[in-house]
């Protein structure tokens, strides 16, 4: 490790430098590469460090980038200019040494499902140098008209409320919708129609096919007390049990978390708009206020790899600013 804590004034295990590096997570995306069926991720960062990390990714079968929770239209104290931070994320994407094959946006594109918010998001994202952008909706994108506007803009050709799958260079990607028809007292929900579709969708695949599932709300119980989970996710994951490599990418909670269970690796992405508190550390999961200059201007890197193996699972938690 090249990093160590120098000035731990408050005896809390972090100094200013470490804290600021944490802050550099905000407003970025996550780069994924597939090496022989093993998915690796690292948050995007700036400048030279970015190039170094890009170099590390050489030899990958392909790469893609996940961005999430843009919340265009949000203008409260936690981030009065979410369009600017989305633009920063796009700039990061465009500074990549090799452009990603495509982007995944895991929902909450907008704050209030307003046409003007979707317009702005589309305009900014249009500037990203990536082959295509694949979306799934967040609950903020389907607030009106039963999500029809989302479907018209971002979900053309999808099934049901916006679910679909596609194949890319030997990997199977599945976009799921777990933000509609939510039941009182419950969590995110996939629903029986979507589950049936999923079961059929993966039926023809070889068990050796790497499967990448993406949806807005986590498909694992991150913190049900705050609604951070999906009621029928176990059933969905049951259909994927026979696959040797399953990666689940989510947003919604505006912070990075990972879990490995069996052959399934779970990962949640950062928001491009504002951070949310760690589970249980605040009265509610509402936006966490951070000084704007720190949110937008602090440079630094966080380096996270997650590796999914066939048997013994390896998780490498790399510290920040690792070269």
């Amino acid at each position: 490790m090249t990093d160590f804590i120098r000035d731990n004034i408050n005896k809390d295990g972090i100094d200013r430098r470490g804290f600021l590096q944490c802050m550099a997570w905000a407003g970025t995306g996550v780069l994924y590469t597939l090496h022989g069926g093993i998915l690796k991720s690292l948050p995007l960062m700036q400048g030279a460090a970015n190039s170094e990390h890009m170099a590390k990714m050489k030899g990958a079968d392909f790469s893609f980038i996940q961005i999430s929770d843009s919340h265009i239209g949000f203008s409260k104290e936690a981030n009065p200019d979410v369009t600017a931070t989305l633009q920063i994320a796009v700039d990061r994407i465009n500074s990549a040494a090799a452009p990603p094959d495509f982007l995944l946006h895991t929902g909450d594109i907008s704050q209030l499902s307003k046409p003007s918010e979707f317009d702005t998001a589309e305009q900014v994202l249009k500037g990203a140098k990536a082959g295509k952008i694949f979306y799934v909706p967040g609950e903020h994108d389907v607030l009106t008209d039963d999500g029809q506007q989302y479907l018209d803009r971002f979900g053309k050709g999808t099934k049901g409320k916006g679910w679909y799958s596609f194949d890319h260079k030997g990997a199977h990607f599945i976009g799921l919708v777990n933000v509609v028809d939510l039941k009182a007292g419950g969590l995110g929900s996939l629903g029986s129609d979507q589950l049936k579709w999923l079961q059929d969708d993966v039926k023809q695949l070889k068990s050796s096919t790497p499967v990448i599932v993406f949806a807005h709300i986590p498909l694992w119980a991150v913190y049900p007390e705050w609604g951070w989970g999906t009621d029928d996710s176990e059933q969905a994951l049951g259909y994927l049990k026979r696959f040797g490599s399953v990666s689940v990418l989510n947003g919604h909670i505006h912070q990075i978390m990972q879990k490995v269970e069996g052959n399934v690796t779970f990962h949640t992405a950062l928001s491009t708009a504002f951070p949310q508190p760690a589970p249980g550390t605040a009265p509610s999961p509402g936006p966490m206020k951070v000084p704007a200059d720190q949110l937008r201007n602090v440079l630094g890197i966080s380096h996270v790899n997650f590796v999914q193996g066939q048997h013994s699972l390896a998780i490498v938690d790399s510290p920040l600013a690792q070269s």
């Binding site: 809390d12 972090i14 804290f19 009182a184 007292g185 550390t281 509402g286 936006p287």
Partner: protein, 119 residues
Amino acid sequence: MKRIRWIFVCGATVITAFTLTVGIRPILALRPAENPAGGASVKIDNFSFGPADVKIPVGTTVTWTNRDDVPHVVASDAKLFKSKPLDTDDHFSFTFTKSGTYVYYCAIHPKMTAKVVVQ
């Protein structure tokens, strides 16, 4: 044996420190109650309805006000009423004309549940 491992990326201590350092969002002070025409009011704050259990006579109008930085949607479990998305400080009112217990929730944060008892 199946092992489950959680990883908090900067480490649990760091995340805790992060939260402490930037400070969690302070609980908003409640503004003076808004009770139009003698009705009842419910505040939405910190992802919860308060009071969570409202008892009112038949014919009373209940007004919900969102005090959170995020939108909420007030929806009856029995599909009797549903608000438009309520942004910060937006209101929604519904008049209860029959006795009964009305469970409602936030349609986009369904862990948020509460009830109105009309007597």
